[in-house]
Amino acid sequence: MREISFQKALDEAVAEEMRRDPRIIVMATDFTGDPVKEFGPARVRFTPISEAVLTGMGLGAAGCGFRPIVNWRMVTFSFVAMDQIVNQASKIRYMFGGQADFPVTYRCTTGGGIGLAAQHSQSPYSMWMHLAGLKIILPSTPADAKGLLKSAIRDNNPVVSFECSRLATVTGPVPDGDHLVPIGVAEVKRAGTDVTIVGLAYYVQEALAVAEELVREGISIEVVDPRTLVPMDADTVRASVRKTGRVVIVDEAPATCSAASEISALLVEDPDTFRVLKAPVRRVCAVPVPVPYSPPLERAALPNRDDIKTAVYAVLKDSLRPV
């Protein structure tokens, strides 16, 4: 299978969908490549720096039969548009009794790790997850990126695509042709028996690396990637934890009210999972600070492989029943 980068996979997703459906238009202050050349300036719109109006325009045009893709670029820039996301996009269809559909896709990059400091390094997906009415994707591989973004663009609801910056240049195999990954389906990226690691975005790769290392110590890790944050495929995550009895959840957002908190809560409120859980549910998340600039501080703020390993050892040690 051909190997392409995460970024290229995303670009292919948009271009293929634009070829399929002339109602798709894209709006952003900048684009990778030169989409105007193929699709023309009516469909590819360079915009002023006005995220609030763009976000609402995506919704309005969607309600009138188009399928806009609005790219906020960095997630932190989208906060100037938060009213249009919270009060409009997430509520509009339900509030109006379902009389219209709003097939709009919002895209942005997330995450730290590249020295850009607090206002350009954040992973606040859980703030969107809390809103009823948005679907949310968070891919970890080029193939998932392409397949999920294509599904998002075809979805008839507002979908937010969070695209981890540190993954942009990561390459991986992507099937040829019309590769789709369904929204709402998690994937077990590696099978194992002792501990489940639920990783998000960049930390799926890190979890896989840790799993590989721990084989040498005789510890068998299962890595689960939710891929979609809303709707969350709780069944797959729970099934894994029911098998291993132990779980570590890894993400680069701070722990408080995070996706990791939610996954923890989903696990322990399910009686069948709760009953077989052998150890405390560990979250490996960012230290609760705005992401600092200086490399040693930034490294200390974000989770790393050692943190993941430490958590794995802890859940093994704290187990009610030994491994």
Partner: protein, 322 residues
């Protein structure tokens, strides 16, 4: 651009219907038949009707928290509006939205909006859709003087101008945002003065004169249909009642002579005088209109009363499209 008898009758009828609908809504709210908040449009009827009389069904509007007048002027069915206020399944939103969220996409009414300024970006999106469709349809975005202090006002005007969107921004300057007079909100009285910096026409109209609003909006709509871009139209008007009520109408805080002076410029009475003077409508015809409005409102209430409340089992219906 003299209006014929049928057009005048239609305008008058719509204005009276808007007024009586909201007078009735106040009573129904006091009676506990409807819930939440009511923001009456009474006194401002000439703006919605003057603007929307320029419209085809395929044109679109976005509205505000004070949205009943815009809905009616754009052709929404008062029976389904009333059912929505009653929180019933036959309401426009099946009872999920209520007064501040009535929409009728079938007639191009893209929704009232409970967030001040929240409709402006959505309206720009509708105008973008119309531009891409290329059929000459126009979007009108209604908003208040208060909304003109929100950043979205500026962003919307700016992008609409850069992209030459077919949109008319209609500021209903009713002199107050809740309890704050315009002077608390803005350095100058004319919101339309912003137009110049966006290189678009900015016009102030007497918002209590439906014919003046009709003409001014007509120019702006025609310009938008020709692909020449947006306009900003400000209608100076006044609400006769309180900003909003929940269980009971709140006390009046505005000067009584100010209220009296605006009531003396009642937009409905002025249209009636005009129609009478021009010999377009007789007194009898006008009272027939009022009778008809009354009957229609009775019918709307009956319709609403007859409609069932939503079943709590349907709570999750309408969340996501297939």
């Amino acid at each position: 651009m003299a209006l014929d008898k049928a057009q005048l009758a239609q305008m008058l009828r719509t204005m009276i219907l808007i007024r009586e609908f909201d007078e009735l809504a106040i009573q129904l709210r006091v009676a506990g038949k409807i819930y939440g908040a009511v923001h009456p449009y009474v006194g401002q009827e000439a703006v919605a009707v003057g603007v929307c009389s320029n419209f085809k069904v395929s044109d679109r509007v976005t509205s505000t928290h004070r949205g009943h007048g815009h809905c009616i002027a754009k052709g929404a069915d008062i029976r389904r509006m009333m059912a929505e206020l009653f929180g019933r399944v036959d309401g426009y939103c099946k009872g999920k939205g209520g007064s501040m969220h009535i929409a009728d996409f079938a007639v191009g009414m893209l929704g009232a909006n409970g967030i001040v300024g929240g409709g402006l970006p959505i309206a720009c999106g509708a105008a973008l859709a119309a531009q891409l469709e290329g059929k000459g349809d126009v979007t009108v975005c209604f908003f208040g003087d208060g909304a003109a202090a929100e950043g979205e006002f500026h962003e919307a005007l700016n992008i609409a101008s850069v992209w030459k969107l077919p949109i008319v921004f209609v500021c209903e300057n009713n002199q107050y945002a809740a309890n704050n007079a315009v002077a608390v909100q803005h350095p100058r009285v004319d919101i339309a003065a912003h137009a110049g910096a966006y290189q678009i026409p900015g016009v102030v109209a007497d918002g209590n004169d439906v014919l003046e609003v009709y003409a001014a909006a007509g120019d702006a709509v025609a310009r938008a249909r020709r692909g020449e871009g947006p306009s900003l139209l400000e209608g100076k008007t006044y609400r006769w009642h309180f900003h909003a009520m929940r269980a009971t109408p709140p006390p009046e805080t505005r000067p009584s002579d100010e209220i009296a002076s605006w009531k003396a410029r009642d937009p409905i009475a002025r249209l009636e005088q005009h129609a009478l003077g021009a010999g377009a409508l007789s007194a009898a015809e006008m009272s027939a209109i009022r009778e008809r409005v009354k009957a229609d409102l009775d019918d709307a209430v009956a319709f609403a009363e007859a409609s069932p409340f939503p079943d709590p089992k349907d709570l999750l219906v309408d969340m996501f499209a297939e």
